[in-house]
């Protein structure tokens, strides 16, 4: 209603107006990108690993004294027996790595032995017949490995498995139209037959650059007889802490030729997840903090400038009151004024937000900003502006009309 004269007034107060509009624009650009990043990172955090995470214990065992493959094989076999006999342990297997561990091996996988036509990458897990039960993986089609199919892999041996189990995601990708069970694929020069398909099982990596194939996992029937062994232990329900406390001493008592790090040697799967997502969580917190700081500064800036303007315009507020403005008229004057500055700010800010996102996409594999975040950011900033302006505007509306007669 009084938009035209308010705009005229703002032209008179260019510096303050531009400053606040610019601050709103910058805050919008940063806040909607930050919210987007937060949402993405939290999305990572909540992505299921595919394994039944409760009651899972991981032991990182480094073999000491450079044992050869046969020695490792026998020590590993005796460890597995020891662990299986430990009270509270439900199941156990030995492997090279597990989901979210952050370390692992990648193979090419495809329909032909020719390396150039390998179409995809897959994470490789060396497992035995106890892996599915220990991890709580669901077999969707086909069968599990048999004990007699488990081979050995040492430094110089070739990895050429006859049978493999793959995840549903990978199966669907390789064979979109038919069941993968019984089909041959190539991880090496020799064909491997897919004997089973499991549901979800993530790769060891969580960063977004691996996101495209983060459920392309392949289980190979091998014991890995080199430098270190990872034991994956499923405890009886409720026994996790108890087993975790005793497992190290038990293994050392059985055989001293090993190193289990006091810090990270024994971890629950919850620890693994927390460490894997450390940087995601850190980034989300950082972005949240930055947003909060920007919003606070902008809110404070609006409160400050409006308070200054109200003080500066006491006399003219009094004159307006003398000429018939009600308290509401004065209140709505300042709210409208702020809204106009806010709208200008968010228009510029919306453009800046998209620009910042494009730059992030170029620099750091960021995804395209969904428009919903810009809309949410615009709403947040306009509401923040109106909220911030409310107190000084109410003060303005309380300026008595007699102020018009006071000489300054």
């Amino acid at each position: 209603m009084q938009i035209r004269p308010i705009l005229a007034t703002l032209r008179y107060h260019k510096a303050g107006t531009l400053l606040i509009a610019l601050q709103i624009a910058l805050t919008l650009a940063i806040v909607c990108n930050a919210l987007f990043i937060i949402h993405q990172r939290l999305g990572q955090l909540s992505r299921p690993s595919g394994v039944d995470e409760s009651d899972l214990l991981l032991v990182h065992n480094q073999w000491a004294g450079k044992p050869d493959a046969d020695e490792v094989a026998s020590m590993m076999a005796s460890d597995l027996a020891t662990l299986r006999n430990l009270p509270g342990v439900a199941n156990v297997y030995a492997t090279n790595t597990y989901p979210l561990s952050g370390e692992g091996t990648v193979f090419g996988i495809g329909h032909s032995p020719d390396k150039k036509t390998y179409t995809d990458s897959t994470a490789i897990y060396f497992v035995d017949d106890n892996a599915l039960a220990t991890l709580g993986l669901r077999l969707i089609a086909g069968r599990n490995f048999r004990p007699d199919e488990i081979g050995a892999s040492s430094k110089h041996s070739k990895i050429e498995p006859d049978e493999i189990i793959i995840t549903q995601a990978l199966a669907h990708h390789l064979f979109p139209d038919a069941s993968a069970v019984g089909k041959a694929v190539y991880l090496s020069r020799k064909p491997s037959i897919i004997i089973g398909v499991v549901g979800r099982m993530r790769t060891p990596w969580v960063d977004s650059s691996m996101a495209k194939w983060d459920e392309y996992s392949t289980l190979l029937p091998y014991r890995r007889l080199e430098g270190y062994t990872e034991y994956v232990i499923r405890t009886q329900p409720g026994q996790l802490d108890d087993v975790a406390r005793r497992v190290k001493a038990t293994l050392y008592a059985a055989n001293r030729m090993r190193v289990i790090s006091p810090k990270n040697g024994v971890r629950t799967f919850a620890d693994v997840g927390a460490q894997a997502y450390n940087s995601d969580r850190g980034m989300a917190i950082l972005m949240g903090a930055i947003s909060l700081i920007m919003l606070t500064i902008t809110g404070a800036g609006i409160v400050g400038l409006t308070s200054f303007w109200v003080g500066q315009r006491r006399k003219q507020i009094g004159v307006r009151r003398a000429l018939g403005a009600t308290q509401r008229d004065i209140l709505s004057y300042f709210l409208t004024e702020n809204l106009l500055i806010g709208v200008a700010g968010v228009i510029v800010g919306g453009v800046l937000a998209i620009g910042l996102n494009l730059w992030l996409m170029n620099q750091f594999e960021m995804e395209k900003l969904a428009m919903g975040y810009v809309v949410a950011g615009v709403a947040i900033l306009l509401v923040l502006g109106q909220g911030a302006v409310l107190a000084p505007a109410l003060r303005a509306s309380k300026v008595p009309p007699v102020e018009a007669t006071r000489s300054v």
Binding site: L323, G324, V402, T405
Partner: protein, 240 residues
Amino acid sequence: MLKMTHLSKVYRTEVVETYALRDFNINVKEGEFVAVTGPSGSGKTTFLTIAGLLETFTGGEYHLDGVEVSNLDDNARSKIRNEKIGFIFQAFNLIPDLNVFDNVEVPLRYRGMKGPERKERIMSALERVGLASRAKHYPAELSGGQQQRVAIARALAGTPRLLLADEPTGNLDTQMARGVLELLEEIHREGATIVMVTHDPELAARAQRNVHIIDGQVVDLAEDPRFHTAYTAAAGQVRS
């Protein structure tokens, strides 16, 4: 039009109570042109601010246009100010951020008047005061006399029945002052009631009636011995 009986106004600060008006009685009839004189600090401005509903009073009664105003709420008072009263201040009180046109428009907007009617009233008010060509100028670009004429146009545009002027010529030289007074006389001839505070005996003499305030009270000059000293002091002050 404007009737105050036994009205009092007390300003309270932490230490003192000042009676700005006490047992104040005045009756201004519709269509009158009254000049209010009195020494500095006698309560002239206080009287005008209460008359114009800019401020409340402490005791007594005030009937404006037949309505007892002390029970009106803030919105009702705003509405009366907007529709019935025009103000002219000594310091002009134009809004510096707005040009002449927008300044005159302010009370009309608060009245909720439509754009075309506002424009017509603004332009005719500016023509009245001879400043139609300055509509796009800002107050700072005008002389004092021109600013006061804009303020008069702003008061006129709403066609108020009561015009309250607090030393409208106090900041102007004699020639400009005469121009402003002629304008007020013209407005008066068209039917408005005018109450004008002035220190200038020459201007006061041109009003239909003079009211003198001393120490917050209306006094009858013929009977009050205090008048002569006060009157001379006030007149002397203006000349210096």
